[in-house]
Structures are given as structure tokens and as C-alpha cells.
């Protein structure tokens, strides 16, 4: 996980949002530290390595506009990335309902797990990625998804049930 692990550690070590552990000195530092990790996260959520940087860049632009008022920027921008990926997922759902004559293959390569993940609803996919890639606790996932922890567990349970239907370990 590399740098993302530091993000997770930082988040996990942080106490309530009002009191971040080590507030970033400047926006540029925060951007340099977390951009790559968030792009990877967005790539897994959106399923597109091409779209993810744009989504994350937009999230940082929004964060920049509110930099002085955001007390704990990492959860904020992570939640922003989740929402951006969900929006992208909804747009892709429209495209899927109206498929092109020759659809492009998966950008991450042909893999039944990728296909199964892409078929999940956006919130289930986000919950799975945040749990099994970012290793976030349920509380942080709930914070990113703006739901309760019980809902997080429900989302992950349903996602695993759907994956088991198509994945044969």
C-alpha cells in the first residue's frame, strides 16, 4: 500500500475530525503527499485509470477553494473522491444502458474479479475498496460514505455475496 498506508495510519491514528493529528503545513504539501494515493483509490473505485486522475484533480480543486475552512482535509478529500467516483459510476451506468457498438475492454485487463467489481453498485464497490484496499475501519468508511457503520457492514456483506456468485476461489 505504500503511501496509502501512511494515509490510513494517519487517519486511524487521528482522533475526532476536529483535532487532526498533524495538520498539513500547506496545500501544496498536502497535495504532493496524497495525490497519488487518492488516484489509486479512485482508480479502484471507478475502474478507470484514465478517469481517476481527473476525478482526484477536481477534488483537490474543490479542496483548494475551501482549504482555509476545512479542518481535517484528508477525510474531506477522501469523501469527495468517493462521491466523484460514484458520480462517474452513475454516468457509466447510463453508458452501459446504451452500449456502444464495440465496447472497450477493461482498462485494467481482463479479469473476472474486475468485471465482478465493476458490476457492483457504486456504494458497495466503494465500501469494498475502502475496506480491502485502504484497510479503513468501518467508522472511517462510514464517514466517507456518509452512512452508519451498520450500513457499511451491510454494504460489504452484500458485495461479498454478489462476488461469491461469480468468483470461484
Amino acid at each position: 500500500m505504500g503511501e496509502l498506508g501512511s494515509i490510513v495510519d494517519e487517519v486511524e491514528g487521528a482522533q475526532p475530525e476536529a483535532a487532526p493529528e498533524v495538520p498539513p503545513a500547506t496545500f501544496a504539501d498536502f497535495y504532493a503527499d496524497h495525490f497519488g494515493d487518492l488516484v489509486r483509490l479512485a482508480t479502484l473505485m471507478s475502474g478507470s485509470a484514465d478517469v481517476a486522475p481527473d476525478l482526484v484533480q477536481d477534488c483537490f480543486v474543490r479542496l483548494h477553494a475551501r482549504w482555509t475552512s476545512v479542518r481535517d482535509p484528508l477525510p474531506y478529500v477522501r469523501r469527495s473522491v468517493v462521491h466523484a467516483c460514484a458520480s462517474h459510476h452513475r454516468r457509466n451506468a447510463v453508458v452501459r444502458r446504451n452500449p456502444l457498438p464495440s465496447p472497450r475492454p477493461s482498462e485494467l485487463g481482463a479479469d473476472e474479479l474486475d468485471d465482478a467489481l465493476a458490476a457492483l453498485p457504486a456504494r458497495q464497490r466503494a465500501a469494498v475498496v475502502l475496506r480491502y484496499y485502504a484497510d479503513l475501519p468501518d467508522a472511517e468508511i462510514a464517514r466517507a460514505l456518509r452512512c452508519r457503520e451498520g450500513t457499511v457492514r451491510s454494504l460489504i456483506s452484500r458485495a461479498l455475496a454478489d462476488l461469491r456468485k461469480v468468483i470461484h476461489p
Binding site: A32, F35, G36, V39, L44, H64, L108, L113, L160
Partner: protein
Amino acid sequence: MSDPIEERLRSHLTARAAQVTVEPDAAALADRAAARPRVGTPLVAGLVALVVVLTGGGFLTGRAVAGSSPVRAAPAAGALAPAAGASGLPNADVGGTAGDGPPLMSLFTRTTGTGVTIRAYRSSTDGSCSSMMSCPPTGTLPSPAPVPTPVPCPTGATCAQPVEQATSTLGAATGASAGTSTGESAGGGSASSGTVTTTPPSTGSGCQQLTVEFSTDQAVSSTTLAAPTQGALTASEVEILGSGSFGEAEGAPAAWVAVLVGSSVTSVHLVTSTGSVLDAMAPASGVAVLAAVGSTALAATSVIGIEQDGTTGAVPSDQGAGTSGPGCSTVPVVPPPSTTTTTTTTGPSTTGSTTTTTVPTPSTLVPATATPAVARPTGAP
């Protein structure tokens, strides 16, 4: 014991993430931030503009719809020096009404040099002028003149009273009351060269009313007079529509006189016997209202119309011909002495010719009984 699918997910996601190599691009971020449309500011500005437009539109609509408070209009341009404080537009149809009455058209608003603010409005009614007048015109009446042919009243319409009814209360006077006279005075029988026109009766077209409001620092009053149009007079005629006083109860009496003038009369002066001008104004739509503060303000005063060429024009031989509303009394008419003939030179800027104009000796004008005055609340403007 870990679920195999969970372990596979962890490894799969980590492997996929490792394939993603990306470097932060601060320049691209700066460009994107600069190009980001600021929807917040235009949205707020739009909302503010919408609120302002709706508020202003509602205010204007409310004023237009309500219209019950007449906008004070201005005197005619050229009001003379004693009339101060004029503002607004003359003859502006303010769309207001006097209670449930007809719409009022503002003639002028002026403040005299003695502090009497006068607001004059003209209105038309379908009713009779005589029904509005509680007292008949008094004073010198013209020689019998041809009675205008009454206009047949349409079925179902409200028409004015017949001409005969309007003139039947005039005592010895008979015939139409719209005529002019150079005949005898009712009081003394002396000849008078002035012109007096009493209020003409209305025909089926309705009655013109002149509503005048007076106010001083201590008292206010109003009166409504029957007011014929300017076209009923000859060019140099001056007709007194009414006179009165108010403010006695408040200890601040003031007197007024309303006149209708012909088209050639450019200013009307209220002068004392010594020749000093108490008040003066340029007629607005042929109407002039003069006022002065004092219990004897109008005693031994005269109304003089000044014509365009500077000539002292017609002066009413009887300056008490009008009425002053409820409680009006007959204005005593002082028999004018024999007329004197003077020579008046016209103004230098006009023809320069010398004309001979008969100027009567000013007769006494006594204000009628005061109209009901309303005390102004303390601190009111």
C-alpha cells in the same frame, strides 16, 4: 479464519493499485483551479438581483394599484416669487380619488410666502355642480344671457341638474350663470367695468370640481368648488370661484381665494389696498389659488390678473361671487366707485403699443365663513 474471497480481494486490489503510477501535477491543478467556473458568485448575484427586482416591482405595482394617495404635483412653471416651495409636475393625473369620488388630476402644489401650502386638484363628476355647492353664488350677476340648450340626458345616465335649477337660487339673477357682466352691481347699482363670471351650470357631460387643500403649520383645511373649464371665459376674464378662511380654531387663521382666469392671464396677484402683493401665482390650467396668513388677510384686498403683455387685465367687479363650501355666507359687496380710466403701457418686450385699459378700483373682498379646519397633530410637517 479469513474468507478466501476477502484475501483474493486484498491481493487483487493491491496489485491493481500498484499498476497505477501517477505523479502530482501542481501546474495542472493550478490551471484547473483557475479555469473552474465560480458558480457561487453569479448565483448569489442573480438571487440578489431577483430579490431586488421582485421587491421593486411589487412596490411599484402596489403604488400603481393602490393609487389612493395622490402624488403631490407641482405648480405650473413660472409661479411668481411669493409662491415658494413648488415642486413636481403640473397637470399630472395622479389617479387618486377623493374618497370614493372621481379621480383627481393634480393641478399644482405651492407654498405661499406666508407659509400656506396649497394643493389643487381638478376632477370631473357625473353629478350636478349644484349638488356640490351648499351655497349659491352671490354677488354681481351678469345680465341675462342666452340659456344654453341642455343636453338631453341619456337614459339611465346620471346627469347634471338643469340649468334653471342652478340659477334659480341666485335671487334676482335669472338666466344662465355663465355669462359675463359689465352691468350693475347687486349692492349699490354702480357701474362696474370688471368681469364676473359665476359658476356655470353643468350640462349632461358632468361637473368639473376643483378640490383645494390648504395647510399651515397649525391647521389644515380643504374645500371643493365647482370649477368651469378655462374655455368658459374669455381671454382676459377673471372669475372668483370661491374664498374662505381656516385655522381660526387653532389660532392661526389664514384666508384664501380661488379664481379662474382666461387664457391670456399669465399671473394673478392678491394685492392690498396699498398696492402690496400678498400672494401671486401663475395660473395652472386657468386656475389660481391665492392665500395669506392672518385673520384680516383678505380684507381690503383685490385680485388682479396680469395679461401676457403686462397689462393689468380684467379685475372682477365683485370679488365675492363664489362660495366656500359648507357654511358659506354671502360675501358683502362693496359698491365699487365709479371706474377710472388709466393708461397702461404694455411691456417693453411686446408690441410696445400703448393701450388703454379700464382698471376698476379694487373692491373689498371679505372671506367667507371658515371651512372646517382640522388641527394638525403636534410635530406633523
